[in-house]
């Protein structure tokens, strides 16, 4: 089930536990902000489970920070340029979200795929055309003609 056991483990357990501890703290704080129905006498309200989960999460993550255990093997983290490359892909995904409506499916998808391939070092013109033009075109045809999903190919007039 945990396939990552066989693969890269860049940081130690503590880093992940610390991130989750911060999240659990913010979650617990928000759990106390949940509105309560006035004059309710019920033991179990909308904030009961979130509060319990928040404290439980804080306790488990704190335990992991203090006692990370022997399983946390240290493997050198990927070099900075690889993190930057992943960051570039995250930006690309956000840009795709912004471009999808104003540019339409075809232009935005072709640009997304071409930029992704370029970032990964692809320079072949044939590969660009087949992956960035033919694939989205076929996908759009499948979507609209076979599955009957309406999806505008080009930018819609506002």
């Amino acid at each position: 089930m945990n396939s990552d056991r066989f693969k890269v483990r860049a940081f130690d357990t503590r880093t992940g536990a610390l991130l989750l501890f911060v999240f659990c703290c913010a979650y617990t704080w928000q759990a106390f902000e949940i509105l309560q129905i006035n004059h309710t006498t019920a033991l179990f309200t909308a904030s009961s489970m979130p509060r319990f989960l928040g404290f439980l999460g804080m306790a488990v993550s704190l335990h992991l920070i203090l006692f990370p255990g022997a399983s946390s093997e240290y493997v050198a983290p990927p070099p900075l340029r690889r993190w930057l490359l992943m960051g570039a892909f995250l930006l690309l995904m956000i840009s795709y979200g912004f471009a999808l409506r104003p540019l339409g499916f075809m232009l935005s998808t072709s640009a997304f795929l071409a930029a992704g391939m370029y970032l990964l070092g692809q320079r072949s013109f044939v590969a660009f055309v087949s992956a960035a033009v033919i694939v989205p075109g076929l996908f759009w045809l499948l979507l609209t003609q076979v599955m009957g999903v309406y999806f505008p190919l080009w930018p819609m007039a506002t």
Partner: protein, 499 residues
């Protein structure tokens, strides 16, 4: 019951559903073959397509993708020693040596035959055991369900591996936390919406699965180019023929491993990985000295045992999902989420309220295994070419299909931004060794655990007395506690022994 079975047969044998079965098996094989992309990713990628179909067709498609992905994982294990999923790691112990000795075709044929037998035997057992368990489950109260869900969540965390219990537990809690985002089902109070209208309905299950599996896997592959890269070029396939003597030799291990695999699959959290390793170890012990020495060097028994066990376990894991509505693994958790999205609540009433869906899924398992044997095996040489598709094209396409798959459900660009955020967090957590499957399981079970606990408390006048007043609830909770503390007790015993 017989009416339901015949309706299920009729639905499964319809031309459209057989078509979806073939598409699902082929797509699953293709995706499962790509190292790193396991059945969970394969099913997640198929959900947008399945959601446009009738419930029975959609679930048949996803079940076919599941088998196909396991079969595909075995193929890459045997051909290039790159197991697509953890459950096919044991298959590579003898499959890859066979491939290196020039018997790649035979190894694939034995894997396909063993998977087929495992799947068929387990589906037969599912046919018998599912209604029995469903009838038993009809007597369950909310408190029993609450206890069962706790047991399921704890078991999945406990089975993740040595030293990983707390990490898996923390991820389960995180999944439960994410499930509380949105409007509270009973009181109608918004929770953790941060004032955003897009979060009023909560976080989409599909969005979370895509972000934490498909997208994070692609991003990890971008960060680490060696991730899942084959050790060697794809081997040239030789004859697929298996002799009568070889067939006779692998029959007992296949039967034993199918049975053990099915029962391991029934246990929440155990799943196909444990089943395959258990079967491999058992067969090694059963073998005589000469045969035992062959294990790890290209033994057909060593390949047949894990192959039949992992397929049988995959089938077995459907039993708790279909009859109790409690998934025993990350994969069945995703399928459960898809069923709920259809408005179908799996549980003991499923085979009464939705007999066509229930029986069609079971019947489709036989058909699916037949399709894998008859269609996919001869196509393996062609399917294996997918492994040669450059990653420079494959990774952006995985990202594209994941993003557009979620966008097509809601047509809301907010989902794309939220997916990006979740994918980034998933990458950070995965590089720290935190597993994602417990998160999905927690997310799926979050609503159910809260609802059942609330109902149990209401029934018992806001008192926790149901824990000791209902023996079944108390027993299941005690069992959950035992499962939770068992790894700690074991390690303490080992430490004391070492001293």
């Amino acid at each position: 019951m017989f009416e339901g079975v015949s309706a299920g047969f009729a639905a499964a044998f319809s031309i459209a559903n057989i078509g979806y079965l073939i598409v699902g098996c082929s797509a699953g094989t293709l995706i499962g073959m790509i190292p790193g992309l396991g059945p969970m990713t394969a099913i997640a990628l198929m959900i947008p397509l399945a959601s446009t179909l009738e419930p029975a067709s959609g679930i048949i498609l996803m079940a076919a993708v599941y088998y196909g992905a396991i079969f595909g994982g075995s193929t890459s294990s045997i051909l290039i020693n790159a197991p697509g999923v953890a459950s096919t790691v044991a298959s590579s112990f003898d499959g890859f040596p066979l491939s290196q000795q020039g018997h790649a075709g035979k190894a694939l044929a034995v894997a396909a035959l063993s998977s087929f037998s495992g799947g068929i035997i387990a589906a037969l057992m599912l046919l018998v055991s599912a209604p029995l368990l469903a009838n038993l489950a009809l007597s369950f109260h909310s408190s029993d369900y609450f206890a069962l869900i706790v047991l399921g969540l704890v078991s999945v965390a406990a089975f993740t591996g040595r030293g990983e219990l707390r990490k898996a537990l923390l991820m389960t809690i995180l999944g439960l936390m994410l499930s509380t985002v949105g409007t509270d089902q009973t009181q109608g109070i918004p929770r953790f919406t941060l004032g955003l209208v897009d979060l009023i309905d909560g976080i989409s299950f599909l969005l979370l699965v895509m972000a934490t599996f498909a997208i994070s896997e692609a991003l990890l592959a971008i960060m680490d180019p060696a991730r899942g890269r084959p050790d060697q070029d794809t081997k040239k396939l030789t004859s697929l023929k298996v002799s009568k003597k070889e067939l006779k030799d692998i029959t007992p291990p296949v039967l034993r491993s199918s049975l053990s695999g099915f029962f391991v699959g029934l246990l929440p959290g155990a799943g196909a990985t444990i089943a395959s390793f258990l079967a491999y170890g058992t067969e090694q012990r059963f073998a005589n000295k000469e045969a035992r020495d062959q294990f790890g060097r290209g033994s057909l028994r060593g390949l047949a045992a894990p192959e039949s066990a992992n397929n049988a376990a995959a089938t077995g894991s459907f039993v708790p999902m279909l009859t109790l509505g409690i998934p025993g693994s990350g994969t069945t958790a995703i399928m459960l989420g898809a069923l709920i999205a259809y408005g179908i609540q799996p549980g003991p009433m499923l085979y009464i309220s939705e007999p066509v869906v229930f029986w069609a899924v079971i019947v489709s398992m036989w058909l699916g295994n037949t399709v894998l044997l008859v269609l996919n095996l001869p196509l393996i040489p062609y399917i294996a070419r997918l492994l040669t598709v450059p990653r420079t094209a494959l990774l952006p396409m995985i990202l594209f299909f994941s993003l557009i798959g979620v966008y097509l459900v809601s047509f809301n660009t907010f989902d794309i931004f939220l997916m990006t955020l979740f994918a980034f967090c998933a990458v950070l957590l995965r590089t720290c060794g935190f597993p994602m499957a417990p998160l999905i399981l927690g997310f799926i079970m979050g609503g159910m655990i809260e609802e059942n606990l609330r109902r149990a408390l209401l029934l018992y006048d806001d008192s926790w007395s149901f824990i000791w007043e209902r023996p079944s609830t108390g027993t299941i909770l005690l069992l959950a506690f035992a499962v939770l503390v068992w790894p700690g007790v074991q390690s303490l015993r080992e430490r004391l022994k070492a001293q």
